[in-house]
């Protein structure tokens, strides 16, 4: 079998997937309380359609917006909206959220309607179904799927890549999906194909998941336009641009989007969610989350309702072995450290990682010894070490010149740095300052 891989850079962190890879997806019991932020996706926040005190049913749309790059929010349990207030958001700070308390009995929204006859639908109808179901990219970037599936005028998608790489260590949610729900994924891919009209489709899976590759090859035998691509186990193989380079040898231009080279990438989880939304009519109210880490007593893969608190899931996984010092939403390379375990699962929560106290220790940054390892591993061919110097010296124009905005914050440089310098932190700071300066300039021009 041909092995695909991106060329430049990359790191090989310890996989640690054996903690949960063999464990089937378990349905978590319905939570008694959920917190649903109005912003669980990339784009504009949704606006509430219900009031405090209202009763909502599972799957009912409770927030929406006419803005294009956004997604609606659906009630993930049946119950009463006890508050619409600011609450801790896993990505940081606070955000307006619905707080719903369960009424015990689950009742589904009567508007939910399956569409097994979707093949007769028009593209715009299908896109609308996907939008109404609140589906966003479930790989972690949470970009609204209906936007991604509608290329701008004049651009056409030639190749669709389904991302089952899951290159983050520890996470196994996508892996379990491919093993247990391969039909749903294939169904979703067929819907994508109908919308985009593409001829060649690749499903990329890292070669450390031979069972998933085998399973998908078996299931896709009657689907000739789908090709299973085994990609080398190297981080960040699952990053959009790297995956496109690995499979198509095309390079997305600086500041460009995959569609500029005729490619669209969708996650396997998104494919399964789209299939559920279209075939069964169920909006995005649940997802598979890997609860793992060396501090968790019984790690596992759970299907949970959105809005479930991290603490509930950790209790479900047997609780913590030792003191909880750090909790990460997502994988260890790109995940967000959350401020408290009282934050909810949102659409982009692919995993909850509780590192042991030793793993979570703080490293004092040391001086740079100019070893050049960050340059070697950067998959975007950037110079992360220089960006730190530029940011420290407030020479943001030089950083811009060296394409700092092209950094996708994969964390390979931070991982490899022998002096433990927090590269991504500095780069994020520089980007934030560049953004603010731009805003200021625009205000002055006005």
């Amino acid at each position: 079998m041909k092995k695909y891989s991106f060329k430049k850079g990359g790191v090989f962190p310890k996989q640690e997937k054996n903690l949960t890879a063999h464990l089937p997806i378990k349905k978590a019991p319905l939570p008694s309380k959920v917190i649903l932020p109005l912003l669980m996706h990339a784009g504009a926040p949704a606006e509430p359609l219900v009031k405090k005190g209202d009763y909502v049913k599972t799957g009912q749309k409770i927030a929406d917006t006419p803005i294009y790059i956004s997604a609606p929010v659906h009630a993930s349990i049946t119950g009463k909206i006890v508050a619409i207030e600011e609450s801790l958001h896993p990505i940081g700070g606070k955000f307006i959220s619905f707080i719903i308390e369960s009424r015990g009995q689950e009742e589904w929204d009567p508007k939910i309607a399956p569409h097994p006859d979707w093949e007769n639908f028009s593209t715009s109808d299908l896109l609308n179904l996907i939008r109404e179901a609140g589906i966003v990219g479930l790989g972690g970037a949470t970009f609204p799927t209906h936007v991604k599936l509608a290329p701008p005028k004049g651009k056409k998608a030639e190749i669709l890549i389904i991302n089952g790489v899951e290159c983050e260590p520890f996470l196994t949610a996508d892996y379990r999906l491919m093993i247990e729900r391969s039909e749903k994924i294939l169904q979703g891919i067929k819907i994508f194909q109908k919308i985009l009209g593409v001829k060649s489709i690749f499903l990329a899976i890292e070669d450390n998941k031979p069972e998933a590759i085998h399973q998908m090859i078996e299931k896709s035998k009657e689907y000739p336009s789908l090709q299973i691509a085994s990609v080398a186990t190297k981080y960040p193989q699952g990053s959009e641009k790297q995956l496109i380079e690995a499979i198509t040898k095309r390079q997305v231009p600086i500041g460009g989007l995959p569609i500029d080279v005729g490619v669209i990438v969708q996650n396997v989880g998104t494919a399964a969610a789209v299939s559920e939304a279209v075939m069964e009519g169920i909006p995005l109210i649940r997802r598979v989350v890997t609860v793992t880490g060396h501090n968790i007593l019984q790690p596992g893969n759970y299907e949970v309702r959105l809005g479930t608190l991290f603490s509930d899931l950790i209790d479900l996984a047997g609780g913590c072995r030792g003191k909880m010092k750090k909790l990460i939403m997502g994988g260890p390379m790109m995940g967000f450290a959350v401020l408290s375990d009282q934050v909810p699962v949102i659409k982009g929560t692919s995993g909850i990682l509780a590192p042991s106290e030793k793993e979570a220790r703080y490293y004092q940054p040391q001086p740079c010894i100019r070893c050049g390892k960050c340059l070697q591993v950067c998959p975007m061919r950037l110079a992360p070490g220089r960006f730190i110097d530029f940011t420290e010296e407030k020479e943001l124009d030089k950083a811009l010149e060296k394409n700092i905005l092209n950094c996708m914050e994969c964390g390979a440089c931070t991982y490899i740095c022998p002096a433990r310098r927090p590269m991504v932190q500095w780069i994020k700071l520089a980007k934030e300052q560049i953004r603010k300066n731009k805003q200021k300039e625009m205000k002055i021009e006005k």
């Binding site: 967000f336 450290a337 408290s340 040391q366 010894i369 490899i416």
Partner: protein
């Protein structure tokens, strides 16, 4: 942000967690490991230097390392900087400086040279990572300029693997060739049974050390080999030492010759 900004966000009974920007895992190789690996690579040349030049070598290495450590510790204390002798970088400087000194050198010059290496070569530029030049070579340049006679006081190797030949005198191989046109055979050059600085005579033990660093990916073999390639190419094309030359010194001999390095 000061701490009072954070506290109101705290939930009732639960303490706040630590946050940091990704990534949250690191490679096990840190600065200390790199320096340790360099020291490991330098063990064999050290052993061979003690074999060929006796207990003097050990004294040179010991003095140089000790001075480097004390100087770095003292400077960082005086400058109110964080003391970083635990990262072994001063030790690496000490060993490297010792290896490029002749065995006859008086110990007091070593103390001065090591202190110069650390203070002028390293700490005044801002310490680890900010030095313009290799501190050990700064120290060597200082010693060479200040006490040239001591720095050229070569001694014949004491330890013997190959039997002594006329070729082994107290002059270094290139000096011998220059002054009396005597060539040194490959074997002596490779093993290091020649006179010269204590740590740089033995090409074989240095190569083994280099291989260890290649294996550990501390240095990139492409850098070392392109350097050597450049030397061969320049000799061949511009300096009149063609690769296929039939007269001494041959290019390969030059490459493994200690005073050429």
């Amino acid at each position: 942000m000061n701490t009072t900004d954070i506290i109101p966000l705290a939930q009732k009974d639960r303490s706040l967690l630590e946050v940091s920007v990704a990534s949250h895992i690191y490679t096990p190789i840190d600065t200390q490991t790199i320096m340790r690996d360099v020291l490991i690579a330098l063990i064999l040349p050290g052993v061979s230097s003690i074999f060929f030049f006796g207990f003097d070598s050990f004294l040179i290495i010991f003095t140089s390392c000790l001075t480097c450590l004390i100087t770095e510790w003292g400077f960082q204390k005086l400058a109110h900087k964080e003391v970083r002798i635990g990262d072994f970088s001063a030790l690496v400087t000490g060993v490297l400086l010792a290896y490029c000194l002749p065995s006859e050198i008086p110990l007091w010059t070593i103390i001065l040279g090591s202190a110069f290496s650390i203070i002028i070569g390293k700490e005044l530029f801002g310490g680890l990572g900010y030095n313009l030049f290799n501190p050990a070579l700064v120290g060597r340049a200082f010693l060479l300029a200040s006490w040239p006679a001591h720095m050229a006081s070569w001694k014949q190797p004491i330890g013997k693997i190959l039997k002594s030949s006329d070729a082994i005198t107290s002059a270094t191989p290139l000096e011998q060739w220059k002054t009396s046109n005597i060539s040194t055979p490959y074997g002596y050059l490779f093993l290091g049974q020649i006179s010269g600085c204590i740590g740089e005579t033995s090409a074989i033990s240095l190569s083994i050390g280099a291989c260890y660093l290649f294996y550990r990916q501390i240095i990139d073999w492409r850098i070392s080999f392109s350097y050597l390639g450049t030397v061969i190419w320049t000799l061949d094309k511009f300096l009149g030492y063609p690769i296929k030359s039939i007269s001494y010194p041959y290019t390969i001999q030059l490459l493994i010759c200690n005073d050429f390095k």
